[in-house]
Amino acid sequence: MSDVTYSSAADPGEDVYADSYETFDGTVYNLAGGDWDSIAAAPEGEKERIVVNMGPQHPSTHGVLRLVLELDGETVTDARCGIGYLHTGIEKNMEYRTWVQGVTFVTRMDYLTPFFNEAAYVLAVEKLLGISQNIPERANVIRVLMMELNRISSHLVALATGGMELGALTAMTFGFRERELVLDLFEMVTGLRMNSAFFRPGGVAQDLPSDGEKAIRDTLPLLRKRMKDTADLLIDNAIWMGRTVDVGYLDLQGCMALGMTGPVLRSAGLPHDLRKSQPYCGYEAYEFDVPTQTSCDAYGRFLIRIAEMHESLNIVEQCLDRLTPGPVMVEDKKIAWPAQLSIGSDGQGNSTEHIKHIMSESMESLIHHFKLVTEGFTVPAGQAYVAVESPRGELGAHVVSSGGTRPYRVHFRDPSFNNLQATAAMSEGSMVADVIAAVASIDPVMGGVDR
């Protein structure tokens, strides 16, 4: 930093809050707001560049994102993202926990799509264990059911926060209201609204509650009706279209170069969806369409999200029809979690039957329970990469095992992380206000970006 000399704030006549310093490019003035007068005497003849630091802040629920914009009047000439503000070292932490505990971490990455994070991770672990074919049918149906409900809740937030950022506050209240309906279902099935840690290597943690199927079925008509209301509110809305049509433009060539996946890629006309091209969890058995648009803009991505939510509702209905009684965890007792949870008088707890069995009937069961819970199972050495189609695009999990009871290395290829790279291509040359619409159309979640 030898090319920078800070002027001393103690100099008479200097503004202590908005100092200036010299660089090779000329004088740089720091502005903290309300002090434009102090740079009125900026030297003549020098090229003036205004760099605005948008953030690091919390733009609704995307997380903490910093945008560095270079402006020429209202036009953005240069846009750069600063990320890392939500880095929590999840990947490193997982190297010091058992394979099952890893689920608890990954569910917290992209906090709007917990089930997709869990799915990518458990599918990779199952591939390493070589038990992918042994997952019970019911567990797979429940996984698809939860993922598709999750897709709806995630797209609703995309819509809600995107609307709020563009001033459409009714879209925000509608979106969050409908999302709450879905989160209620999550709470009923997993016990938690978010961060459920519900998928486990080998199946799911718990079967649906006895009234679960009915509750989900009863919610669907209301959800369908209200989603139509939200869509009607925005689809032909002149203000909404004025803010999003031809904004955040990225054509197919740009999408391929920048590795875009998800609604952004589909808004450029390519119907690429991993659920169709490389099905997992039995997606090949479901009937659904992959909506695309050819407008390459934020409005097209909005239409795709609306259409995808309806497709997801159809898949959820098909899941409910396919649910047949059966186990929800692999038979292999060396992998399946020994205890089943049940709701006791205090609200939660282990199944009393299981406790009775291990405490007073079978010492071997107790040893088995203890070993599996404290030590965990070992996973044969090797590596696997599994990708699922999250609401934002390809979510990949690269899991490496060294044959131990803990992951050797876990890495997530988060779609938001990759797609945020398109911010510059989408917003350079546009107005400042369009940057917001462009970023909202990418729908990044910084918890997933930074992990």
């Binding site: 990320i83 890392g84 880095h87 070292g89 990947e91 490193k92 010091y96 591939k127 390493l128 070589g130 391929m256 170069a257 920048l258 590795g259 875009m260 996946t261 390519l270 690429h272 091209s277 490389q278 404290t374 030590e375 965990g376 050495a381 090797g382 590596q383 696997a384 990469y385 990708a387 390809e394 990949g396 690269h398 490496v400 060294s402 044959g403 131990g404 009871t405 803990r406 050797y408 290395r409 890495h411 290829r413 992380f417 990759n418 945020l420 790279q421 930074d450 992990r451």
Partner: protein, 234 residues
């Protein structure tokens, strides 16, 4: 297994990929443990290289790659170190100096056409001497609906791998992340700076030799060691 802990190579396998040795059962030593578990020695063996035929579409793909390499006057044996087929996934170990040519070939060759490189991930094998750092690139071909993995290794002493951002611009942030976490220098990257950690951070946190902090909690005179010094099953 021999007494030294180095396993006997089974028949039909050309060589074993030993990346480390696991000792004991609880990551402790010198505790006076007489159970015998402390004396356990087991090598960490990654899946061994695979010989032809690889099975399924892998052979077709390998043929395409060999032809495409020949078109570019690149000798297969010096570009591809080994091929591992494991768990229905194929991994090409490519020598670092050829990764740019290899990536360009994957992208441009009509029979390969891997439109997407889904980033790069580092893995640090502390005991894999001379090739401690691995950079793992997953590739996806939408046209042919195929996935492959390309792995490049670099020694800790000279952690340099050429950047493929010029071919796959989407790898920009991914390479920055791998530099940030593992210290792999991607030569030719347009701006290899930290991305997740603060700019003034020292060290590369996801390396296996990066010291962990731990929390100085005291309870009745006991202290909690950092996770990597804690007793645990291994």
């Amino acid at each position: 297994m021999t007494e030294s802990g180095i396993p006997v190579v089974p028949e039909g396998v050309s060589e074993l990929d030993v990346v480390g040795v696991r000792r004991g059962s609880f990551q402790v030593s010198g505790s006076g443990d007489t159970s015998g578990f402390g004396g356990l020695v087991s090598p960490i063996v990654m899946p061994a290289p695979t010989e032809r035929p690889y099975g399924g579409w892998f052979d077709e793909l390998a043929d395409e790659i060999e032809l495409a390499l020949a078109d570019r006057n690149l000798p297969v044996s010096s570009v591809i170190d080994k091929v591992v087929v494991d768990r229905d996934e194929i991994t090409f170990f490519v020598l670092a100096e050829y990764i740019v040519d290899f990536a360009r070939m994957l992208r441009d060759e009509p029979g390969l056409r891997f439109e997407m490189c889904l980033g790069v991930n580092g893995v640090h094998y502390l005991e894999d001497k001379g090739r401690e750092l691995h950079a793992v690139y997953p590739f996806l071909s939408i046209t042919h609906n195929r996935r492959i993995r390309v792995e490049v290794t670099a020694p800790d002493a000279n952690p340099h791998i050429p950047s493929i951002v010029g071919i796959y611009p989407s790898n920009d942030w991914h390479e920055r992340e791998t530099w940030d976490f593992f210290g792999i220098v991607f030569d030719g990257h347009p701006g290899l700076t930290r991305i997740e950690m603060p700019d003034d951070w020292a060290g590369h946190p996801q390396r296996k030799d990066y010291p962990l902090g731990g929390i100085p909690v005291e309870y009745k005179g006991a202290t909690i060691p950092a996770p990597d010094n804690r007793r645990a099953y291994n």
